[in-house]
Amino acid sequence: MKIFTMTKTVTKNLVKGPATLMYPQKERIFTPITRGKIENAIDRCIFCGLCGRRCPTYAIVVSKESKAWQIDRLKCCICNLCVDVCPVKCLSTDNHHAPSVTERKMALHRESAAPQDDPAQG
């Protein structure tokens, strides 16, 4: 049994400085595959609704008539199933997390196809 077992570690720490990141000054680096949030390149979206049907938390609502795609970022569990299932690969996972919100409805992210894109798609 010893009593000064921590001494080596403590001395090392004193020399090395903090192990944490000084957050606001130094940005955290995300890996390329970090699952942050789901993004939709709306110009390419064909509003097939597969992502909405595949979503395990029912976070995605797609409306074919009004050409709108909506995701509830608080419901989304970023499982990537929608990205896998998307036939035109317009969905992607961004490696930065969605900003924090103070109200549930602020987490609703809605995207609609721009009117000039409609003829091109049709």
């Binding site: 049994m1 010893k2 077992t5 570690t9 192990a19 995300f30 890996t31 970090t34 395990p56 990537n80």
Partner: protein, 359 residues
């Protein structure tokens, strides 16, 4: 005759990481009875199986618990694969083993930290959490998430780790091993730590067996119960050896976890060297019809996933028996007769995971 008091501990208590409540009946400083009550975090995940497609449910199984998230999806996927007769590719089995062992390392290091916090060694707690970070970084680089991995799916795994990254993981774990040895030296040899843990919360081999202990709790009492020896995933190709101690007290449980952490690092090294080339998943068609018990060794002990399907996309029944649940009777037995000051140590040496227990 001393005066009897009832001391409530939990569900919110500085040393308890998760919500479990105890009514400790005490006489002076001695606990003579402990009445546990759980169900503060019941979420109804088992019932959810009737409402979710069985492929998607792997994600729900992932969210049963944070620390052993991967083991839960592994157990669930194994059960479904067994019912449907799916042959999982070898590479996927090895990758599953690697992630499962990484989960074990991160859970055990976390436990060491929390245990240090419980006996009042704050700086050791910080050191342990610092050492857990490299493992979480590996998780993020290989799966895209730090805690809820979401890589296990029915029929294989979702992401591949290329061979260079596998070598990188082994190298990083070697560095981690050196750092870990330094910290573990404190747990094993330090006078105050030994004084606080030795002889506390003793449970004999017979009692541990009769009360159905599992995991490190059983192994610290000399019972060599380790489900990895059964040989699920790629464990049948690796040299798995149950880590057994015989003292049966909190110190022995601490030792078991320390040695298991090093054993897990060794298993990852073995698995990374043997991982064959090939596909990582197979296409799943049809739906499960039948029932199966899948047994997986979690960091806390053996977990059983019972899955019953009737040939539709929605399963009929999903049941999880987690190790904490089987360890609670033993915990009550150990708590009776202990000192009030030792209660946090005893509860933590069992590593209770209440989120798992209540689902």
């Amino acid at each position: 005759m001393a005066h009897r008091n009832v001391i409530p501990v939990g569900p919110q208590h500085p040393v308890l990481p998760e919500p479990i409540h105890f009514d400790l009946v005490t006489e002076d400083e001695r606990v003579i009875d402990a009445i546990p009550s759980i169900s503060y975090v019941h979420r109804g995940l088992e019932r959810l199986v009737e409402k979710r497609d069985f492929i998607d449910f792997a994600h729900v199984a992932d969210r049963i618990c944070g620390l052993c998230s991967f083991m839960h999806s592994l157990g669930y996927c194994q059960a479904v694969e067994e019912i449907m007769g799916i042959e999982v590719p070898q590479r996927a089995l090895y990758l599953r083993t690697i992630w499962a062992e990484l989960s074990r390392i991160h859970s055990h290091i976390f436990w060491l930290g929390v245990a240090a916090d419980a006996f009042g060694f704050e700086s050791l707690f910080m050191q342990a959490l610092r050492l857990r970070e490299p493992v979480l970084d590996i998780f993020e680089e290989t799966t895209g998430a730090r805690v809820i991995l979401g890589v296990c799916k029915v029929g294989g795994v979702r992401r591949d780790i290329d061979n260079d990254s596998l070598k990188g993981i082994v190298t990083r774990l070697t560095v981690l091993k050196a750092d870990l040895e330094e910290i573990c030296n404190v747990f094993i040899n330090d006078y105050s730590v030994r004084h606080r843990l030795s002889g506390v919360g003793f449970i004999s081999r017979e009692d541990a067996y009769a009360l159905g202990c599992l995991g490190p709790m059983a192994r610290a009492s000399g019972l060599a119960i380790d489900m990895r020896a059964v040989g699920y995933a790629a464990y049948r190709y690796l040299d798995v050896e149950p880590v057994v101690e015989t003292a049966g007290d909190c110190y022995a449980r601490c030792l078991v976890r320390i040695r298991e952490t090093f054993h897990a690092i060794d298993l990852i090294r073995q698995a990374a060297g043997k991982t064959p080339e090939g596909p990582i998943d197979v296409k799943v068609t049809g739906a499960p019809d039948g029932e199966y018990y899948s047994r997986v060794e979690q960091p806390r002990g053996e977990v059983i996933h019972y899955v019953k399907g009737n040939g539709s996309r929605f399963l009929q029944r999903f049941r999880v028996r987690v190790p904490t649940f089987s360890n609670i009777p033993a915990m009550i037995k150990v708590l009776k007769g202990s000192e009030v000051a030792d209660v946090p140590n005893i509860i933590l040496s069992l590593d209770p995971c209440i989120s798992c227990t209540e689902r």
